[in-house]
């Protein structure tokens, strides 16, 4: 059943796959982010309570949602790496960690900038904000642990266990606003009910969310290729790619 996945344990195949997907992710990320941001920031109607300040939602919500999804993706990569001992899975894990950390930071930063004018405080130690901050620390922990080992297979295992254990934080972040009373409001779109947002405001948000997904995928493929280059630079298949690449540039 999973046979088609097996070739991707080889760095060579992963490198080729990344090279093939990367331009598509790049084009769709740029197109979607420009469409969503321009639509959301300029043309979507202002909110009845918050006026124009609510527009920061078009960056805050995608970044916050994807900081969690990236963590789950990273943990799945860690699981594959640990159980099936794929080196490429650990490389994917390291490639995703800083991207997710940056998303978490964007979510926290835009949240603070939104909280000051609306709530009246940059930061409150409520369950949602605190658990999101812990997510940032988890990302930093995975990155630091990976870089603490010289043997990258050992490093992958150690950081992978940490990434897997940290997964318990993801449902805590999501349900924090339901389990406890918090200053942060409840979920607008990630619930089974109808989204509590007017349609003309919702569309640009959805476009931006897909745009952020493509952006993360784009940066991840780029970083994964770099990681492979760094680790496998001397392999014959790699030198042949490099030689072919430089040959092309001479021809042009």
């Amino acid at each position: 059943m999973w046979k088609w996945l097996h070739p991707y344990a080889k760095t060579e195949k992963v490198y080729a796959l990344c090279s093939r997907l990367q331009p598509w992710f790049a084009i769709s990320a740029i197109a979607l982010l420009i469409t969503g941001s321009v639509w959301g920031l300029l043309y979507a109607p202002a909110d009845y309570q918050q006026g124009d300040s609510f527009r920061i939602i078009y960056f805050h919500v995608p970044a916050a949602m994807l900081s969690m999804s990236t963590y789950v993706a990273m943990a799945i990569a860690a699981l594959v790496g640990i159980v099936w001992q794929w080196r490429t899975a650990f490389m994917a894990m390291v490639a995703m960690a800083p991207v997710g950390a940056v998303m978490t930071f964007i979510a926290l930063f835009t949240g603070a900038a939104w909280g000051k004018p609306m709530w009246g405080a940059w930061w409150v130690w409520d369950a949602r904000l605190t658990s999101e901050l812990i997510l940032l620390f988890l990302y930093c922990g995975v990155i630091a642990l990976y870089n603490a080992f010289d043997d990258k297979q050992q490093a992958g295992k150690a950081a992978g266990v940490m990434a897997l254990v940290g997964v318990v934080n993801v449902p805590i972040i999501h349900f924090s606003v339901e389990w406890w009373n918090t200053l942060h409001q409840g979920a607008t779109i990630t619930k089974f009910d109808k989204p509590s947002m007017a349609t003309e405001m919702l569309w640009p948000l959805l476009i931006n969310i897909v745009g952020f997904v493509c952006f993360i995928a784009w940066v991840t493929t780029l970083r994964l290729k770099n990681e492979i280059l760094k680790r496998e630079g001397a392999r014959p298949w790699m030198t042949s790619i490099v030689r072919r690449g430089s040959g092309n540039s001479h021809a042009v």
């Binding site: 109607p45 202002a46 909110d47 009845y48 309570q49 918050q50 006026g51 300040s53 609510f54 939602i57 699981l79 640990i82 159980v83 099936w84 004018p117 609306m118 709530w119 009246g120 405080a121 409150v124 130690w125 409520d126 369950a127 266990v161 897997l164 254990v165 997964v167 318990v168 805590i172 389990w179 406890w180 009373n181 918090t182 200053l183 409001q185 409840g186 979920a187 607008t188 509590s196 947002m197 007017a198 003309e200 405001m201």
Partner: protein, 155 residues
Amino acid sequence: MNPRRKQRLKVIGGIVILIGAAVSLMLYALNDNIDLFYTPSEIIDGKNGQVPQVGQRLRIGGMVVPGTVDRNSQTLQVAFELVDTGPAVTVLYNGILPDLFREGQGIVATGTLVNPSTIEAHEVLAKHDEEYMPPELAEKMKGIKHVKPESGAVQ
């Protein structure tokens, strides 16, 4: 799946489930402390059989009761009542209220309990809900007239 992989999967699964269980027990034990604020009825009737003491520093969260906002025309002193489902609690505050502060709005105030149903607040934060809609729709659905934040008027 070969036995070594199965073994590793079991070990990893076990670790994650154990830590998950440990964290959930911890959060369950700390449940009351993770709540950001007391609701007005918890201050009057007590939470888990414990009524907050006079003099205690605490946070309260509730809805501003329409018609109870009393502003001093000379100073920044303001008094209003907060309510959830039960009795109301009076909040006294001396300072600038957030833009979103209006009657019927959710508010979180930090301060000291000066008598069993009055709080002297030193910080008032506005809580907004998860609904976003243009002003015309809000007026049609809820009868709320849009107030521009810069006008600062309380309706």
